[in-house]
C-alpha cells in the first residue's frame, strides 16, 4: 500500500513538472502559432490556432523578399561572422593559453593576470572609445575596420580572448608535461608539439569554448551595431530584427516571423547537440 502511494506521488509530481515546463515554453509556442497568421488575425485571435499554416510560408517569404531590410544577407553575414570569430578565438586562445602555461617567466604570469582582470570590464565602458580607436587604427593601417567583416571578427577575437584563455589555461595545466617531452625527444618542434600533441587533446574543452562564445556572438547586438552601423554593408541578424521592428511598428506578423527565423538555427542546433551544449555550459560556468 505504501509502495503504491509512493508511485502515485511520483506520478503527480511528474505531471506537475510537465505542466510547469509547458507553461514555461508558452512564449515559444505563441511565436510559432502567430508567425502563421496575418496581422489582422493576430490582433483578433491572439491565442487561437492559425486558420491556415500556409500563411507561415507567406510571412517568411515577405521577410526574405523585403527590400528595406536585407534579411537573407544579414543571416549570411551572421553565420560568417560567428564561424570566423569562433575559428580565430579557438585557435589563438588555445595557442596563447598553452604558451602561458608552459612559460615559467614573470611576463607569462603578468599577461595571464591581465586577461583575468579584464573579465570584469563591462562593454559599456569600452564601446564609445572602441569605435573612435578602430577608425583611427583603420586609417593608420589602410584597412577598413568599421563597417567591415575583418573589423568585427578582430574585435570578437579580442573580446573573446580573456574567458577562452582562462578556460583553456585551467584545462592545459592538467595535461601531463611528459607527453610533450617525449614528442620533443623525438625531434618535434615547439609548434609541432602544440599542433600534433596538445591541440588534439583539447577537443572536449574546445566544444565548451565554442558553445560559450557561439551563443554570445550569434545573439550579440551592441558590438556589431557600433562597428557595423544599423544599415551598413555588413549586417547581423539581431540588427536586422530591430530594423524590421523599427520599420514595421506593431506589425506582429512580420516581427514575430523575423524573430522565429533568428531563433530557428540555434534551436535546431540545440536539438541535435543538446548533450554537448549542456555539458559545455556546465563546464564553462564552473571554471
Amino acid at each position: 500500500m505504501t509502495k503504491r502511494k509512493f508511485h502515485l506521488g511520483r506520478f503527480v509530481a511528474e505531471i506537475v513538472v510537465l505542466v510547469l515546463l509547458l507553461i514555461f515554453l508558452i512564449p515559444f509556442f505563441l511565436v510559432v502559432v502567430n508567425s502563421a497568421k496575418t496581422s489582422k488575425d493576430i490582433l483578433f485571435d491572439t491565442l487561437g490556432w492559425p486558420a491556415n499554416w500556409n500563411q507561415l510560408g507567406t510571412n517568411i517569404g515577405l521577410i526574405f523578399g523585403n527590400h528595406t531590410v536585407h534579411y537573407a544577407a544579414a543571416f549570411f553575414d551572421s553565420v560568417v561572422i560567428t564561424v570566423l570569430s569562433l575559428a580565430v578565438i579557438v585557435l589563438f586562445s588555445a595557442m596563447c593559453a598553452w604558451a602561458l602555461v608552459r612559460t615559467h617567466a614573470a611576463w607569462a604570469t603578468i599577461v595571464f593576470f591581465l586577461f583575468v582582470a579584464a573579465m570584469v570590464i563591462p562593454f559599456q565602458v569600452l564601446m564609445f572609445p572602441l569605435v573612435r580607436w578602430m577608425r583611427i587604427l583603420g586609417e593608420f593601417i589602410h584597412v577598413p575596420t568599421l563597417q567591415s567583416l575583418q573589423g568585427v571578427v578582430f574585435a570578437y577575437m579580442g573580446f573573446g580572448a580573456p574567458l577562452s584563455i582562462f578556460i583553456f589555461h585551467g584545462f592545459i595545466k592538467n595535461i601531463p608535461y611528459e607527453l610533450e617531452e617525449s614528442a620533443k625527444i623525438d625531434g618535434a618542434s615547439e609548434a609541432g608539439t602544440f599542433f600534433r600533441i596538445v591541440f588534439p587533446l583539447l577537443q572536449s574543452i574546445i566544444i565548451t569554448v565554442l558553445i560559450l562564445n557561439g551563443i554570445w556572438i550569434w545573439n550579440d547586438y551592441l558590438l556589431p551595431l557600433l562597428l557595423l552601423g544599423s544599415n551598413g554593408a555588413v549586417q547581423t541578424l539581431p540588427i536586422a530584427v530591430t530594423a524590421f521592428a523599427g520599420a514595421y511598428l506593431k506589425q506582429w506578423d512580420l516581427i514575430l516571423t523575423s524573430t522565429l527565423i533568428a531563433m530557428v538555427p540555434v534551436i535546431v542546433l540545440y536539438l541535435f547537440a543538446q548533450r554537448y551544449i549542456i555539458k559545455g555550459m556546465i563546464d564553462g560556468a564552473i571554471k
Binding site: L25, F92, V111, F128, P129, I165, T242, M281
Partner: protein, 295 residues
Amino acid sequence: MHNSSLTKFLFVVPALFAFIMVMVVPFFFGLYYSMTDWNGVSETISFVGLIHFFKVFTEPGFLYSFLITGAFTLINVVLVNVVGFILALVVTSNLRLRNFYRAGFFAPYLVGGIVLGYIWQFLFNNALPTFGKIVGLEALEVSFLSRSDNVIWAMSTVNVWQYAGYIMLIFIAAIQSVPASLMEAAKVDGAGYFRRTFRILIPMMANAFTISLFLTLTTSFKQYDMNLTLTNGGPAARFFDEPVKASQLLAMNIFDTARANQMAEAQAKAVILFVALVIVSLLQVWVSKSKEVEQ
C-alpha cells in the same frame, strides 16, 4: 632568446595583440575621454577634469536609472537563484523525464535578449490582455509594460525566464558533486527532505552560489538588449518632479546620452557603471567566500 621561448612568445602575440587593441587601449582612452569635452562631432578634444562626474549625479534621469538598475538587479539575484535552485532540485530528482525538463528549462537562454524582448513585448501587450479578457481578469487587460510602477517586475519576469535555466545548470553540477552517501546518512539519521536540503545540500554547494550570484548580478547590472526591445525605457514616470523613463536601466541611459552627442558625459556614466560593478561584485564575492569558509 632561446628558440623555444621565442615560439611561445609568438604564440601569445595574436590573442594578446587583439585583446590590447580592443580592450586595453579603449579602456584607458575611455578613462581619459570621461574627463574631456568629447562630443563625437568636434575633432579637437580638451581636458576638463572631473566635472562630468559631479554633474551626472545632479541629473534626475541618471539617478533614477541608477536606482532602478539596483532594484532590478536585486530582484533578479533573488528570483533567478531561487527559481534556478528549485529547477535544479526537480531535474536531479528521480523523475522519469528529468533530462527532457532540463533541456526545456535551459532553452530560453539560447535566444538572445533582442529577440526575447520582442517576444515578451508581444506577450505583455497582446497575449496577456487577450487572455485576461477571456478569463475575465481585469488586472491583466492593461499591459504591464505601460504601468510605470510594475514595469521593472515585468522586465525581471523576462530575466528570470531567460536565466533560471542557465543557473539551474550550475546548480545541477554542484548537486551532483555532493556525495550521495552523505545525503543517505542524514536520511537514515531521520532528517527530513527540507532539513537535508537546507542543512547539508545548500552548505555543501556554497561555491556554486558564489558563482551564480556573481553571474546574475553582473548580467542584470549591464542589461541592455532586452531593455531596448521590451520597453525601450518607457513608460513615462516622474522622479523628484522631473520627467524620467520608468524602465530606463543604466546601460540604456548611457547609450541614450551618447546618442544626444554628449559623448564625454556618457563615458563618465560608463566609468561610474564600471566602478559600481567592480565594488558590488567584489563585495558579493567577499561575503560569499567568507560564508564558504564558515562551513
